[in-house]
Amino acid sequence: MLEAIKPSKKTIFLYLLFPITAFVFTVFFPLLAAIFYSFFEWKNGPTKTFNGIANYIQLFHDATFWKAFGNNIYLVVACLVGQIGIAFILVLFVNSKLAVTKGIHRTFGFFPSTISAVCVGMIWSMVYHNQYGILNWFLKSIGHPELCKVWLNDTANIMLYVSIPLIWQYIGYYMVILFSAIAGIDQQIFESAEIDGANALQTAIHITLPMIRNTMLVCITLCIAGNMKAFDNIYTMTKGGPGTASMVMAMYGYKISFEQFNMGYGSAISVGIFVLSLLVIGGSQGLIKKATKRMED
């Protein structure tokens, strides 16, 4: 960089001072505090008693926590396929020469991701409602009332039903990211592929996907991180029920901390969520990099 326009170290420091301070106070300190408090028994009041790693031993043996972790992994897989997979297919459709009113598709596709998660949860609670829901109404209308059920009380499939609103909400978000990535690919490459006789599927798999690999990696990371901390939609729809069938880790941490007022164990759960999320995100990135490297080789 030219010396004339390069800012001084003092200027850079001043520019970074506020965001770094904000980050440290809102993310780093609370994390450190959670780690610190996780070594205490701290229930229903200010009295804290140091109990070593007792909270972590309890966490290790806590079946509900591991069930919640399993539900988060279910959400991650469902949303990777549902959010990014469907978004990618829709982007290819909208980008095709045959598609018209592309702008409208982009706007309306993105629209659900602008709605607050609680509103999305409420909308879908109404969709699933046993008496007044559009889903049961539709089933009755097409002559299949035997298929009607109390959707949000179906323990076996509840995770699927709470995943659908999450998928619906964020398809547009990933569509926008993928649109911009695909727009950056030189059109001549697609034209060459077309001349060479590649069909749409072959173009998508062998040209588009490798060309937007880095963007895809960002999308996958965002999707995993987002779903490891899923909370609000599910809380609005089922509160983790029936029983603990749709419990996710963040909701379990909330319940322990703010319904059972067990702050020490709640802190241990928060640390557990942090560590498991890092492992899942890091592990998935490693896997993707390995897979893409093998493809390149």
């Binding site: 229930k43 009041g45 200010p46 109390v150 949000l152 509160k239 029936p242 029983g243 703010f258 059972q260």
Partner: protein, 447 residues
């Protein structure tokens, strides 16, 4: 123009009249304290619309502020759910406000940790003590010491609201007193595609507060729960309580008495089934009763006039208290012990607590809503209320036997486990014995 002036004058007169109505006289005690006093509560203006306890609280508070202009009352008003979270967080940080509302189940833990002031002597010295309904102090008592003035109105948590006309069509003059009869009646209602009883447990707490708390008393009697509170050896795994859980499971999972979505909808949804005529009865709390009555009065007067009230029917194998319903005051005005460092400030806080729960509050609620609070009001004139309000007053305070509300006591950690597992139990995923075992484990670990 004249019309406009007349209209404006009429509006002004009405506004003055409404202001005059919405006031209640508090004792104008001379207070030496001049300064700030913090108060945290959950009687929001939205909550006070149609809710007699909240309206009475706000009205009495306004009168107290007017009577004591030298005390600057700093209010922090939150909706109930947010209040519970925030007050617990402040307690965990040891930073409670000067005056706040203490939930019964937190009394023992917070008293042990010195978060609430012992008010035993102050309460005994209260000028209104003779009129207090002393039974309401029980949830706020620990080791013989009282830590709060029970506040708001004492309302039932378990009432069966039924449509007399619908039940008459089914051949019943009144709501049945046993579940066997209700099951028999359900054959008629099911043939008409009408839910016999509407219930909503989507929030998980409703089955405990609005059902099991009363049904349990039918099996165990009040001594068992008193023993449980006193850590006297009673257990959730005791056969009487397990029998209550088994009966609960049977009624919900093995019969067709309830709306099939009882585990997915809230009480707010379920009461709409009753209002819409899709259900012949509904089980809920006093807050549901006031909503149903107000809605039907505005929309369907004939159905409003057909409202009947009943206690929970008696199970065949239960032997105790068939006429009981759980009623009480879940919160009390409590004072931060730090306030006692300034005797004048403490006197102001005590005066505020006394007035918020005293005759000014109780008279206002009795006269305007036919509801009772800590301070008894003699000769409530029911003649100026409609028949349904009067009937509910008599049902709540005169005609029925009372029992405790489970989650006013013990610990939220215990109820959180019971509520979550009972929801799964109703779906047949967990047996009543296991629910009892897990709840007992939570009780031993947290209480």
């Amino acid at each position: 123009m004249k019309k406009l002036i007349a209209l404006l004058m009429a509006v002004a007169v009405m506004a003055i009249a409404c202001t005059a109505l919405a006031s209640t006289p508090v004792a104008a005690t001379e207070l030496a304290y001049k300064g700030e006093l913090e108060l945290m509560h959950f009687s929001t203006s939205e909550e006070s619309e149609g809710n007699g306890g909240s309206d009475g609280f706000r009205t009495t508070l306004a009168a107290w502020k007017e009577a004591h202009p030298d005390v600057t009352l700093t209010e922090n008003v939150l909706a109930n759910a947010e209040y519970k979270t925030q007050i617990a967080t402040l307690a965990a940080a040891g930073n409670l406000p000067d005056v706040f509302l203490l939930q019964g189940m937190n009394t023992i833990a917070w008293a042990e940790q010195g978060l609430v002031l012992d008010l035993t002597d102050k309460i005994a010295a209260s000028p209104y003590y003779a009129d207090y309904n002393t039974a309401y102090f029980t949830p706020f008592t620990s080791n013989g010491k009282i830590y709060g003035y029970p506040v708001l109105t004492g309302g039932t948590c378990t009432v069966v609201i039924y449509d007399k006309a619908m039940w008459a069509e089914a051949g019943y003059d009144a709501f049945p007193s046993t579940w066997e009869e209700v099951e028999k009646a359900s054959e008629y209602f099911n043939s008409k595609n009408i839910y016999t009883v509407a219930f909503g447990n989507g929030g998980q707490w409703q089955l405990n507060s609005d059902f099991v708390s009363t049904l349990g008393n039918r099996y165990t009697g009040p001594e068992w729960f008193a023993n449980l509170i006193a850590k006297g050896g009673a257990k959730f795994t005791d056969p009487e309580f397990v029998a209550c859980l088994k009966e609960t499971k049977r009624l919900f999972a093995d019969t067709k008495l309830f709306n099939p979505d009882y585990n997915a909808v809230t009480n707010e949804d379920a009461r709409e089934y009753y209002i819409a005529g899709n259900a012949a009865s509904f089980i809920g709390g006093n807050w549901d009763e006031s909503y149903i009555a107000a809605t039907l009065l505005a929309s369907d007067e004939a159905k409003f006039n057909n409202i009947g009230f009943a206690v929970l029917p008696q199970p065949a194998d239960a032997t105790k208290a068939p006429n009981s319903q759980n009623i009480g005051l879940g919160y009390a005005v409590a004072i931060n012990p730090k306030v006692a460092e300034d005797p004048d400030k403490l006197a102001a806080a005590i005066d505020l607590a006394q007035e918020l729960t005293g005759p000014a509050f109780s008279s206002y609620c009795a006269e305007n809503y036919a509801l009772g609070g800590l301070t008894k009001v003699s000769d409530v004139d029911l003649s100026k209320f409609d028949a349904i309000t009067a009937a509910f007053y008599n049902w709540s305070y005169v005609d029925t036997e009372t029992c405790e509300i489970y989650d006013s006591y013990i610990s939220s950690a215990v109820w959180s486990v019971l509520n979550t597992e009972m929801q799964a139990m109703l779906n047949g995923e967990i047996e009543p014995e296991k629910v009892a075992e897990d709840t007992q484990k939570a009780y031993e670990e947290n209480y």
